[in-house]
Symmetry: D2
């Protein structure tokens, strides 16, 4: 296999990020197989044609089923709203395709399990765009923990906070439970749950004290399609509708190693524009990451002499010590958001060629586990009881 | 009343901080009544004599009961281990004294309620050394929230983390439930619970998902008296004993205004030497405070034009805008830990003279409310049920 | 003109950055003319062929003269070592081409003046890749100063420090005065001189107290071609040769508005990986920028009420307030180093279409002025006299 | 000698800081000799009486000459305006007293030399209140450099910037060359010159490119005595007078080890309330200090493995590793501005008892050397020539 023919489903915000990834990976990396931007698929033909031309997709289609079953396609990349992931992914897997799916895996635990089951039976390889694993700083954190630099993990403090969703934002699809499945929980907290489990190498075993609140519970209705943007500017009406997803999340939990973890999420927490942050405490040291300074990892190494001990601000842009950056620019010539997708596309290509990715890729098995945590949070918030992960069905 | 005769009970770490406060307040402030360092009381006569001479206490005693009932004394300042607060405070209140007591109020909810009840019936004024309210930055945060700068409070993220208590620290009294009543919870989290309620002007109405863990559950036994220091260096034996208090705390909660609050605490979280931190999100902005940069308050004012909006780092050392600092030094000639006690002693003296303190003093009523939260956390951790504050008895 | 045929001269580090810019600009922006990656030109045919394929250049050539005079080419983009800029640029200008040239303009003041003169007589438009102007945060700083937010400029503190060039780095071309023309001065300080003049809207009128030092003055000789990378890893010999350029720079200067400016540069200042930083003080406020946190601009607005006044950390990723970012990602989905080149390529295309660039482009006139400052620094360091810019010849 | 009888001359801002130091040192430290606050001397008897009572001085006098020659006095502590230092200090030295003098040593180089000469011939010990040496973080920086942690010093970037002196501040004594001798240069930059020389263990050997500017050159006249405060609020008239000292300073220089150093100072640089900052680069690492976060020292250790290398934020509050803090509070229970004076008073007492101070005390010899740098800066600014220190007379 020299090339991989890719079909991208979705031409919204994430379709753009993925297109860029497939387009850039061959320029900055030397992947063992070459990605071909074969077909992009979406509903509106006109918009789709412009999208394809801009990003260099060779073909377009408005029928995803034809595309994911086409003999020409090797990998199906799913970048559609959450309620459509399961149907597309399962069809693609049954057709023998590899699948790279946006997160969260699905908008219900049931659908996610079906996807996981389909993946187990399929020949294709699966992955999920939990792209923050592929910030060099996060991938390096994973390696440090794996190397034992932190010792036993005793504590995690994780949060994913944004502030775009103030009361002036209209009722876009992200506020509609039917389409999105959840709000802050699935959109943001899912990322940091994955990141916490990935970096620590541990799993969440129970969820407690969960609050899922909708602080802004009424929003202006909009007309027309809001697209896949985070808060696309569309026409609005004076009428207001009900927000049916959470915007504020908090819960505590236990890790498989016995540590205590706290999680928070919000979409209207002023001053947190894209604060996907993690602090991990261990018996020998600690780590801190904050996406708003994404090239940096803070390390506290408690084995250093006490006089010079402190938080060290590591600029994770030095090759070959820090993952991925050998392919980019010199020291402190910073990387940005989109690079996490390019890095992931490289790892997907490595994986398709039978090679080890730089750091583990989250497959449907992993993403299903994360979906289980999301389900546990929802059950905990409703029942006001501690929910062991093992009990989630 | 021109002067206030003070009796300090306790000559340990906190006795030192309080002695310094009473000694400094008249030099930097102009209190309406002058504090007289009348008597200091502790158990070991020799050590006490040296302490009294160093700090300028006029008299010493090893019998606290005599002291707190003496006609010479106006104010009893309690800086002894937690298990002794109630008996001393109640005796002092019954004797008609004003009482300034270290926190937490007591080591049981029951004892705290007795103190609160005694305060209700007494003529003396009570206060608790929840000294962090009196960082100028925290007092200013209180004023900003009171002025409506944050709008409605939607979210609190609070933590008090230290890292002195690694496994090499022996079994001092702070690890003994009999004496301390609790560990991280009462020693550290009590402060940040008070700070969160103080700054927001709201109360915690229920506690959920509480974990009280003892990560390091065995420590070397020591011989001799460890004194009141945080981790006094004493002789040790090879033998190990059981730690009977928590060292790691996490819980979620609801605020009276409907916001969600997360609390964390730990004594062995590497890299957090004295991280008493608070982030408050509101509908119009947000605030952040971290004691490790205690002169600074971060404000995010969401009413500013979007282009220049951001977190503003306010150095809270400018008189007269920032509380207390008029009495100290010029701009950015920083204050330290001990100044919070001096500031509080000034407010206590204002209060005794019938004047308004700079910002509200936490009396026994307030401290009892905080003690109720501590009790709710303990009940929640044991029962694994959500605990409404109203149900705590 | 619908399209612009581009010829890139050079396939090293900067050739890569420019290729990426021309390739990405059409995907993220809607330029009024479409860039065509027509021809890339360099010396080694094999390496060049691989470069062209990777980046999508349609043609290759090893004869730059043929290329820059070809009727097929509209814009010549020069990314070769500094000693070759003048010859190529002048030939291209004489052939009626537009020219986009890497900085510094030339390796001598004399050559730079020839280029400036050629530009004055030519029909083509010129620009220089002083790319840091096109960090959104820097472009926004320019706009704030232009809008009078800082009042009168009284003081500038500027530095460009790196730390890659420790003593283990061999004698690559960047240490050879014949090729590079200067060391830290032309490579790094040139950027921050331009940035300081750009942001303040003022010019340097005299240079004083200049030191141009070579701290590490002997380095291992290398064999083979080191390429255009910053410190390409090549074979070395045990023999050592003399470094003929500066590695440490410091000088003071006056601005046209009367303010005092300090400049520093170094290539082996540990802990400064790519610290291109600027602080500007004015009568009404101040600004700070540091490329190592390149998405952020710090603003101190002294017209704000004193109590809430402080340094505001502005995340310059909000459209439409902050330049360029409308074309990229949502708030705080950070941009990186390479985006500055894409942003510049967009402005070059605007300019070619007769439209205003987002913020002013540095043309050869501007770059020649900067070159004059470099010459003044060299004259000042040699003569140990204050050098007025007007006296530089 | 069990006690040292101290005479303080001056009851302004610095008189207050010194009084506090002598008062606190015996409480927090165990000095080998006990300081006695014997006599305070100033011009206005009423104000002086209140000052003495507040700070516990046993006697007062309005005749400094009587005081410094009194047989009762052991140590004369000079905290008067700069133009009076020489006369008082020389009289005290001639009377056989120890002298602790505020900085700068004098307001002319000539007067400073007389003081240095008097010290050489006297039996008393001299010291200068260059108090910033005694921030634990600065003292620790000194020790790290002395231990070779930075290797050879190649570069210093130093600045002392404040922003209190905007145009609304009236013409207080600090703006009057007759009294103050200089403005920003002697008041602020003197501190950071000392700090740079102290930490590096090197001396400045020449001064170049000096600018001494008066950006705000007219200020409102005031009536009455402004006292010794930084910007005491006094009655003003509408009339304006000329500022006769500098407010903005910049120069470059060489260090005795060959490194290049840059210095800046200003009193109206918005956003820099008390930014006394220093960055030192060496062949093996680098250090950074900023008084606005005074408990912290940043260390970049280039001998650490590259992957985990970075700036380490050391909270310099850990005993016994960090100087002085054993006498204060636990980890990260921060110290403030006034503690630097207490620490210095302890070292003065050690020195009087014939013991080594914690880190070297700046005596009149050292302070005279700093005064020579100030003189060189003034000569350089006037002559616009490089000024070797050896040539200053």
């Amino acid at each position: 296999m020299d090339t991989v023919n890719i079909a991208l489903i979705g031409d919204g915000f994430m379709g753009r990020a993925h297109s860029n990834a497939w387009s850039q990976v061959g320029k900055f990396f030397d992947p063992p197989v070459r990605p071909v931007l074969h077909t992009v698929c979406a509903r509106e033909a006109d918009k789709l044609a412009r999208f394809a031309e801009r990003w260099g997709w060779q073909n377009t289609s408005t029928n995803w089923h034809d595309v994911v079953t086409s003999a020409d396609i090797d990998l199906v990349d799913i970048a559609t709203p959450n309620d459509t992931h399961a149907e597309i992914a399962i069809a693609a897997l049954k057709a023998g395709k590899h699948v790279a799916c946006e997160k969260p895996l699905a908008n219900t635990f049931y659908a996610a399990r079906q996807m996981r089951d389909a993946a187990r039976e399929a020949s294709g390889k699966t992955s999920t765009w939990l792209n923050y694993r592929r910030c060099p700083a996060v991938a390096y954190a994973y390696k440090l923990v794996e190397d034992g630099v932190l010792g036993d993990i005793t504590r995690v403090d994780a949060a994913y906070l944004q502030d775009w969703a103030d009361k002036t934002v209209p009722l876009i699809w992200r506020f509609d439970n039917e389409v999105a499945g959840s709000g802050t929980l699935g959109d943001l907290v899912a990322h940091v749950i994955d990141m916490a489990q990935f970096v620590t190498g541990e799993l969440i075993t129970e969820v407690a004290g969960a609050y899922l609140k909708t602080v802004i519970d009424q929003r202006e209705l909009q007309t027309g399609d809001a697209g896949g943007g985070i808060a696309a500017d569309t026409e609005r009406t004076a009428e207001r509708g009900k927000v049916t997803v959470d915007d504020t999340v908090a819960f505590t939990s236990l890790l498989s190693g016995g540590g205590v973890a706290t999680f928070q999420g919000a979409r209207q927490a002023w001053g947190n524009e894209n604060r996907n942050r993690l602090e991990v405490s261990g018996s020998k040291g600690a780590l801190r990451f904050d996406f708003e300074d994404m090239n940096v990892l803070w390390l506290y190494d408690a084995t250093r002499p006490r006089g010079v001990r402190g938080w060290t601000r590591i600029m994770c842009t030095h090759a070959p010590d820090h993952p991925y950056v050998d392919n980019w620019w010199p020291d402190a010539h910073l990387l940005g958001y989109e690079h996490t997708f390019v890095n992931q596309s490289y790892d997907v290509l490595l994986s398709l060629a039978g090679q080890e990715p730089t750091v583990p890729l989250p497959d449907f098995e992993d993403a299903f586990q994360t979906q289980g945590v999301l389900a546990a949070v929802q059950q905990c918030a409703e029942s006001r009881q501690v929910v062991p992960l093992a009990s989630v069905e």
